[in-house]
């Protein structure tokens, strides 16, 4: 695989954004394609393995309850979505979501899928996905959260390399 660096290195911020959008893409832009491909495939496989192990409902979505409905809080006479009233405390209640979203659009898609899979539907009004509370859940959360942390490591390293290359 061609690992030759580009003539003009991209800006570190662009490399960081690319690395968030697609894990490993930041290295790819720097011409380090083998490194980017290895990291990208590893992070994506780790995230997908976590969802395979625990089911998609292992992703707890901030602002949504275990039935996939929006969490509504009452402020005086108003009833408002918790993410518009107290987003930080809601995210702090589900801290793994911070690292899971670091896998990029894949993590965001996972959040949508988790909310959908938690919502009761059909004649039996049962949720398509099954939630689990056991070691399997812990392992699955660990997989998805570590995937995000590893992608953050890759984003920081790739943008640092872009900064050094542009000097």
């Amino acid at each position: 695989m061609d690992d030759s660096p580009p003539q003009t290195p991209p800006a570190p911020s662009l490399v960081a954004l690319a690395g968030w959008l697609v894990p490993g893409l930041g290295y790819w832009l720097l011409g380090q394609r083998t490194r980017g491909l290895t990291i990208g495939v590893t992070v994506i496989l780790l995230f997908l393995a976590g969802i395979l192990i625990g089911g998609v409902r292992v992703l707890e979505v901030p602002g949504y309850n275990r039935d996939g409905g929006k969490i509504i809080v009452s402020r005086g006479a108003d009833a408002r979505w918790v993410m518009t009233v107290a987003p930080l405390s809601e995210i702090a209640n589900k801290p793994w979501s911070i690292t899971q979203v670091l896998t990029g659009p894949l993590g965001l898609f996972g959040f949508f899928a988790s909310a959908w899979a938690s919502r009761p539907s059909g004649p039996a009004m049962s949720a398509p996905g099954v939630g689990v509370h056991s070691h399997v859940n812990e392992i699955a959360v660990l997989y998805t959260a570590v995937a995000g942390m590893l992608n953050l490591l890759a984003i920081l390293d790739a943008s640092a390399r872009a900064g050094q290359a542009s000097k």
Partner: protein
Amino acid sequence: MIIAILAYTPFLYPLPVWSNRVWPWLLLPLCIAVAVVYKCTKCRSMRRVPIESATLAFWIVLGMSGAAVALTVLVKVMER
């Protein structure tokens, strides 16, 4: 158990691995992935990554196993 396996739908249902003998093995791929990504960021040449990440994964597993043994011994001692 059999019903859980028959009803299993990938990505919607959790893997039907409830036995305490099975789930600890799921930590192995995690250790390997951590080692591979870490060494990809640290190694100058990608040719060094396979051997270095295999070595790191081995040490992570050894360290976790050592910690598990030490904690088990501690719990057994405190139970007396």
